[in-house]
Amino acid sequence: METEVLIIGGGVLGAVVARELSRYKVDVILVEKEADFGWGSTKTNMCIVCQGGDTLEFRPEYHRSKLVWTSMPLMEPLCQEIDVPFKRVGELALIRNNEELSKFQKLKARAEKLGMNGHQFIDQDTLRQMEPHVTRKAIGALFDPNIAVVDPVRLTIALIENAIQNGVDVKRETEVIEIDRGVNQFEVQTSRGTIQCRYIVNAAGTSVDKIARFVDADDFVLYPIRGYVGILDKNLGDLVKHEIHMRPDEIGQMNILTPSVHGNLFFGTTMQPAMRGDYSTTRKIAQIGLKNLQKIVPDLSEKDLINAFAGFLMFRNWEVGWHECVVQPSRKVPRFINICIGYPGVSAAPATGREVIELLQREGLKLESNPKFNPTRKAPPVFNQLSEEKQRELISKDMRYGHVVCRCETVTEGEIVAAIQRGATTLDGIKFRTRAGMGRCQGGFCTPRVVKILSRELGVNEGKITKKGWNSHLLLYKSKELIEAQT
């Protein structure tokens, strides 16, 4: 296979670059190691975007901060164009004492110097009105009206679909195994064949440095930091309406509680260096997480937790603070761009996409506008969000929308089939695209049914269906197969 630009990694950054490139008449291939998009750092995070003010904590003059607040005004219009949910929740950074107050005063001043004028100090009474369940220990808060939440995996999938719509070739379950440098090109060996390309955009998340090392293009060192995120029961309703942030009492902790775009509450806590790829959560982390959560909303308890997971962020210079990111052409290898934001990756995506285009042009890529570029991508119907009239219409057009498969999130067979038609091939793929399996029972009821639908639509035996691609098969044996093997 031959192409002009190869994007390695189908997370939110690779996807946004793919979509930006699809505005131009240029051959692009994107390869993604997993069976679906956004399954690395993109999916394991707090979903918070438009964080300009927040990242001022990390030295406003740095590249990372610039990318984040340049992205701020771009995120909502982007979400509208590609039809993904976006909810402006606003952030309340809790103030518990004068030390915190003065820290926030400095932050507000810094923000205003850069032209961000939305921050407001909220007193205790107003805080109680805005958030009656938040800890009484807070004497006030700094309110940032810009903060919003998105579903990063849906965002990534939408970017990918829009990119495909506009001509980008996207390959899943395709892992890069080796890269060789030719005279004016790269030869990239993948698990599904060799690709020749002139430019490489390395957006491989936790493997960015490994990929860069194939051609000695790594002029940076990355440190994996593992964060822990918990999901709370939807029944808590709007226990909090804003993203609530409490300053950590210890290094390596963050205390954030936020409504997600789907109505759950997410909380984030503990960040610690960890072995790359070790997504395991330990009991101690879970306990610290819950204790921190209760600092924000004392009424919460373990029984409100429905799931928890770990996610990786790749940082530079951990010891001196989280200053910098990697969005730069390699100094050692021409036409090789490395991208790694660390935190906050999703927030910085829109501006990063544009910047990478400029970087590619500086490396020599000639770009001609694609007049057929269509910025609009429509999401598949989400049954439980439709008006009743639309629901009836949908069912009469396609009976499968009348068959509810996931009862916790009210996801219909029609939506599952649509997700498969758009590229889902795995149980987790269905989960992230439709939410089937993300509710209270965590797939207990719908899993056998989803497996049957996948098997039917893909035309393969149920035994071939996997949880998350590669060798994660769900059903190892058919009835009687094991006893037969024993006799």
Partner: protein, 417 residues
């Protein structure tokens, strides 16, 4: 039947739903409609291919499908309407109900009464926050039961089961008979969570190792589970350091608790009891919302299906009376409070006009106890266990004999000296 004139709508057609519908019809309700989200009547009974059902109700030892069959036949004979593959998505406190299926699209009804018989769901891995990786091969025992007994798959051949609830033990036997090796059943308490009968007939009969006071502390495996680490726990259920052992396996089943499924109840404004996870009910199984009744596992998790059906019948009879008279006649209300070593009591309120049966579970196992209800009942018991539900009968004469002005009765279970 015109769907606009439903007397009793029953949500769920398991051993509770069918029994409630039948009783309602027998007690005079004319238009009874059952909503069932699966393809046939019977709820979870179809995947319970083992015996042990109906010993009390029918005086026979039936399997789940056979038990379901008896009720389903009666449902048909009585002309009770059924909407299969139909999901009720909403109910409101004025009993307006919305349901969806692929034939009628979106259905709106306002039945004169509703009986909630949705049963329960299983506690999941996410809720346990078991540390470790997130590979394929982890199933709740009930989901595995469906896969093995209905869909025709055996999820793996080297199985570890966390939790010795009845479903876990039954699956230990089932998987063994389907050729898998069940390497251990791991239970955090010092005794089995389900019935002793199952401990004997599922674990001992097949020499399946039962590791009491142990728990799974880590899951290993990237794509498919490949091992679990287990550790001994102390009396506070905390893992004891240096007791860890690794068991290789390709499947982990979780049998760690059932939670009554009350999403719809919440929507309808039904008050739930945090101790049971189910609606607060009175002896007629009416909830705080007039005309909405509940019975079966949705109220509290039962051990025996026979009790599920009997309880649901109370709800059915009450619904029929409600439709006939516009209300269920009740006299003085008394609040039941769980006291020492009692986790919960159902019903949560009683009335003094008739005999009542109280159901309760203890918090901890204890031998040689005295079960007391206020001053009016005192019963010695050899042993009480959380896994085996208690039944207490109170007669009307005992209740009318209560002191004037009694508003509360405490149920307690104390160690005898």
């Amino acid at each position: 039947m015109k769907y606009s004139e439903i007397d009793v709508a029953v949500i769920g057609s398991g051993p509770a739903g069918m029994a409630a519908a039948i009783k309602a019809k027998e007690e005079g309700a004319e238009h009874v409609l059952i909503f069932e989200r699966q393809e046939q009547l019977g709820g979870l009974l179809h995947q319970c291919i083992h015996n042990g059902f109906g010993l009390l109700y029918f005086g026979q030892d039936l399997t789940g499908p056979e038990y379901a069959h008896r009720f389903a036949e009666k449902v048909r004979d009585l002309g009770i309407e059924v909407l299969l593959e139909t999901m009720v998505t909403q109910i409101a406190s004025d009993r307006k109900l919305t349901a969806i299926n692929n034939r009628n699209g979106v259905i709106h009804l306002q039945p004169k009464s509703i009986i909630l018989t949705m049963g329960c769901r299983e506690r999941s891995r996410g809720q346990l926050a078991i540390p470790g990786t997130r590979p394929a091969g982890i199933f709740t025992a009930g989901t595995a039961q469906r896969l093995v007994n209905v869909e025709g798959f055996v999820p793996g051949k080297r199985v570890v089961i966390l939790g010795s609830g009845d479903i876990g033990m039954i699956m230990a036997r089932r998987l063994t008979l389907e050729g898998a090796e069940v390497k251990a059943v791991v239970e955090i308490l010092p005794y089995v969570g389900g019935l002793t009968r199952n401990e004997v007939q599922c674990l001992h009969d097949f020499q399946i190792p039962l590791l009491l006071q142990h728990t799974v502390t880590q899951i290993h495996g990237e794509q498919r589970i490949k091992a679990v680490t287990i550790a001994k726990v102390d009396d506070e259920k905390r893992p004891i350091p240096n007791t860890e052992k690794t068991i290789e396996c390709d499947t982990l089943l979780l049998s760690v608790g059932l939670i009554p499924e009350n999403e719809l109840s919440r929507m309808a404004g039904v008050e739930l009891d945090p101790l049971t996870g189910g609606p607060m009910v009175d002896p007629f199984r009416e909830t705080n919302v007039s005309g909405i009744f509940a019975g079966g596992n949705v109220v509290h998790v039962h051990d025996l299906v026979d009790h599920v059906s009997w309880e649901a019948e109370i709800a059915g009879a009450s619904a029929a009376q409600f439709v006939r008279k516009g209300k269920v006649e009740k006299k003085k209300k008394i609040l039941i409070k769980p006291g020492e070593n009692i986790r919960y009591v159902v019903p949560q309120t009683i009335h003094t006009q008739q005999d009542v049966t109280l159901f309760a579970r203890v918090k901890e196992m204890e031998e040689n106890v005295q079960l007391k209800i206020g001053d009016i009942l005192s019963q010695p018991l050899r042993v009480v266990k959380p896994g085996e539900m208690l039944r207490m009968e109170l007669s009307q004469s005992q209740l009318t004999g209560l002191k004037e002005g009694t508003n509360e009765l405490m149920v307690e279970c104390r160690k005898r000296r």
